[in-house]
């Protein structure tokens, strides 16, 4: 009886997703309370706007949400990959901006590369630079026992100031706007997406900034899924994350895992920066300001919400970009868009309870299981009895 296969009422994936969904609902509820406190008259409409996100702006709005989701998928993958190895990569903002600058610099300087291939070269440069910026805290952690959170944060600031300095002293600088120049030759192709995500202004097609980068992000999520779940390398990394002493005992090189994990995570964040800023006209530019990249930090909620699962991260990145666009349109009602960051923070806070929620759900589940098992037992007894008759 005890060996009978446990009947899982909800399914493991569903149980995990449920805790994220509960966190999202609590976050939105807190957002609603804040809207009520600020201006009760518009609160219901406000929540509606947050929930409909990019759809407030028609197809162009949806395209913008996809454009903002592109780097988030990658920073989410970056943070999530490290979570799987038991590391907290809070260094995504630095890795992103360093990667972005490397990409832009190649885009502006490597004129000998033919235009259709230039964006690819720039993206590779972004990946390499990001990997370097991830490897630094990795080395400090593996070799010198410096906590990766502190090392990553220091690298964020060093990277930000270094990039500010480098931009101002490069030919990719537009001093009038205090930002990087337009990427025309090195822009990632639109891949036909501008024919789908646009809104009409008279007869003018006002296309959104979404481009082929979203395909690259999705493909990389699948690649990370395969690495984590189908390769020995991924298995070793996860083993380190679950129990570093046990995996060391099993012959896994722990230090190598730490270094590789942060390097790969860095390259993912670097690509995020590349995809963000190597955008066609109308896309983002690196502003020379002393602020850390929000897209880098938002990789943390994306990874937590997606439970560090690459496929889950795709959905959570889409969600975060979606409500972020909602915050943009919320300004129509004179609410401040920062409410979205508060909602996201509440969501992370409650996803920290995920374990607790999973335990609670698990308790309900086992109660249901034991009940249905008893019923089946009763049924089997009855059948047995009838056979004997």
């Amino acid at each position: 009886m005890t060996n009978r296969k446990r009947v899982n009422v909800f399914g493991a994936g569903f149980t995990s997703a449920l805790s994220s969904i509960i966190a999202i609902l609590v976050g939105l509820a807190v957002g609603f309370v804040i809207l009520l406190a600020t201006n009760p008259a518009q609160a219901v409409r406000g929540v509606g706007i947050i929930a409909s996100g990019g759809f407030n702006g028609g197809m162009k709005g949806v395209g913008q949400a996809l454009y903002y989701a592109t780097p988030l998928i990658l920073t989410g993958l970056s943070v999530g990959f490290c979570f799987k190895t038991g590391l907290f990569n809070i260094g995504a903002p630095g890795q992103l901006i360093v990667g972005a600058f490397a990409g832009i610099w190649v885009g502006a300087n490597a004129s000998w590369i033919p235009s259709p291939l230039l964006w690819l070269a720039a993206l590779l440069a972004a990946a390499l630079a990001g990997a370097l910026w991830g490897a630094i805290p990795g080395l400090f952690k593996a070799m010198l026992n410096v906590h990766e959170v502190i090392a990553c944060i220091m690298c964020n600031y060093i990277g930000m100031y270094a990039v500010n300095y480098l931009i101002k002293n490069s030919n990719a600088y537009d001093p009038l706007k205090n930002q990087t120049i337009d990427m025309t030759r090195a822009a990632i192709p639109k891949a036909g997406l501008d024919k789908i995500f646009y809104s009409l202004k008279g007869r003018f097609m006002d296309a959104s900034s979404v481009n082929g980068g979203i395909y690259i992000a999705l493909a990389l999520a699948v690649v990370m899924y395969i690495i984590l779940n189908k390769t020995v390398f991924g298995y070793e990394l996860k083993a380190c994350g679950l129990n570093r002493y046990a995996s060391k005992y099993a012959g896994i090189q722990e230090k190598r895992s730490i270094l590789l994990s942060l390097t790969i995570a860095g390259s993912l964040s670097g690509i995020a920066g590349g995809l963000m800023y190597l955008a066609p006209a109308g896309g983002l530019h690196i502003n020379v300001v002393e602020t850390l990249s929000a897209q880098g930090f938002n990789g943390i909620p994306v990874a937590l919400l997606g439970l560090s699962n690459p496929i889950g991260i795709i959905f959570s990145a889409l969600f975060v970009a979606h409500i972020d666009q909602g915050g943009y349109y919320l300004q129509r009602l004179e609410y401040m868009p920062q409410i979205i960051d508060i909602i996201i923070a509440v969501i992370i806070y409650f996803s920290a309870f995920a374990l607790l929620m999973r335990q609670a759900i698990g308790a309900i589940q086992s109660r249901l299981n034991s009940r249905s098992a008893k019923r089946r037992e009763g049924l089997a007894d009855a059948q047995e009895a009838s056979k004997h008759d």
Binding site: F140, Y157, Y165, T291, D341, A352, L356
Partner: protein, 326 residues
């Protein structure tokens, strides 16, 4: 002799500036010490500083037409401590009662803090501006009598704030509390071996709450102390100071006096980064400002690299206490 008269004003300037940067680091790092020695990692120090600074400066902004000077500053300090403590409560609850991941709830607070500060500022201020402006009526040009002491006077008692002396007071109180009181002994026990503390009747949950809330109050105060001498408006950021304080805490090996020395060192680095143009020698060097701004963070990394190999954090720091694990 002419050289020393030439260098002396520069040294006085640097030391006076150094207090502005070292004292908040000291206060916040001591806060972190109380939390970690009780067994709760508080990486939310940055966010708590933002909230403490924001709430108290917003208070100053609203009251400055009716009040000014040290009375207003004291009121603001109380506000900073209170709001910091209140803002830390969710983190304490998550890490003590719910035994959730302390890094994650800390990160949540760090993300929420600037968003809350900007949201509230833009909602309640004219023209929806996010900067909270304040008039600095708190500077003491010279402390009576003490300011006239030769040598020490200009270094310690001129161009200063009462917050500097508050910082020294907090240092002494923290050291005495930690090592000479029953509470301090219990606090340290909860951070090293909570099961043992519990077995002799210490309520681990209460002690951990106390440690975490003290860290909240001190980080809140640290936020205000950081902004007042260095700016005249608050823009929802303390530029990574909370994280630097964490590094100071590690560098200071979780001990009050060493934390003080570490804070002095990092304060000096930060001073060089922001006030180098006031030093003729540094100003004449062909080093751009962005490079100077990197110095505190680079030295932090190097200092940690040199000291972390044998770093001894409180043993149970970051480990949720589970009564059934006894």
């Amino acid at each position: 002799m002419t050289e020393s008269t030439g260098a002396w004003p520069v040294i006085v300037f640097l030391v006076q500036q150094m207090w502005y940067f070292s004292i908040p680091l000291l206060i916040v790092a001591l806060g972190g010490m109380f939390s970690e020695r009780a067994g709760v990692v508080n990486i939310a120090l940055e966010g708590i500083m933002v909230i403490g600074a924001f709430s108290s400066l917003f208070l100053i902004n609203r009251l400055q037409d009716t009040m000014s000077g040290q009375g207003l500053l004291c009121l603001a300090l109380l506000m900073a401590a209170g709001s910091g403590m209140l803002f830390t409560l969710p983190h304490a609850y998550a890490s003590i009662n719910l035994r959730s991941d302390q890094t994650i709830s800390g990160t949540a607070l760090n993300m929420a803090a600037p968003a809350i500060a900007i949201y509230v500022a833009r909602t309640f201020q004219d023209n929806h501006v996010q900067q909270v402006q304040f008039r600095n009526t708190f500077r003491l040009a010279s402390v009576p009598i003490l300011g006239d002491i030769p040598f020490i006077g200009p270094l310690l008692f001129k161009n200063t704030y009462i917050t500097t002396f508050l910082g020294f007071a907090i240092l002494i109180i923290a050291a005495v509390t930690l090592y000479k009181t029953k509470f301090g002994l219990r606090l340290r026990a909860c951070g090293e071996h909570p099961q043992a503390a519990d077995s002799v009747g210490v309520n681990v949950y209460h002690i951990r709450y106390a440690g975490t809330l003290i860290s909240g109050a001190l980080a809140g105060v640290g936020g205000l102390v950081f902004v007042i001498p260095t700016s005249t408006d608050f823009n929802a950021t303390v530029s990574g100071y909370g994280f630097l304080a964490l590094a100071v805490l590690i560098f200071g090996q979780w001990r009050p006096v060493r934390v003080f020395l570490a804070a002095l060192f990092f304060g000096l680095m930060k001073t060089i980064a922001s006030a180098y143009s006031g030093v003729p020698v540094l100003k004449s060097l062909p080093i751009p400002s962005d490079i100077y701004k990197m110095i505190p963070y680079i030295t932090t990394l190097i200092a940690l690299a040199l000291t972390s190999k044998h770093s001894q954090a409180p043993r149970a720091s970051g480990v949720p206490y589970d009564k059934s694990g006894r």
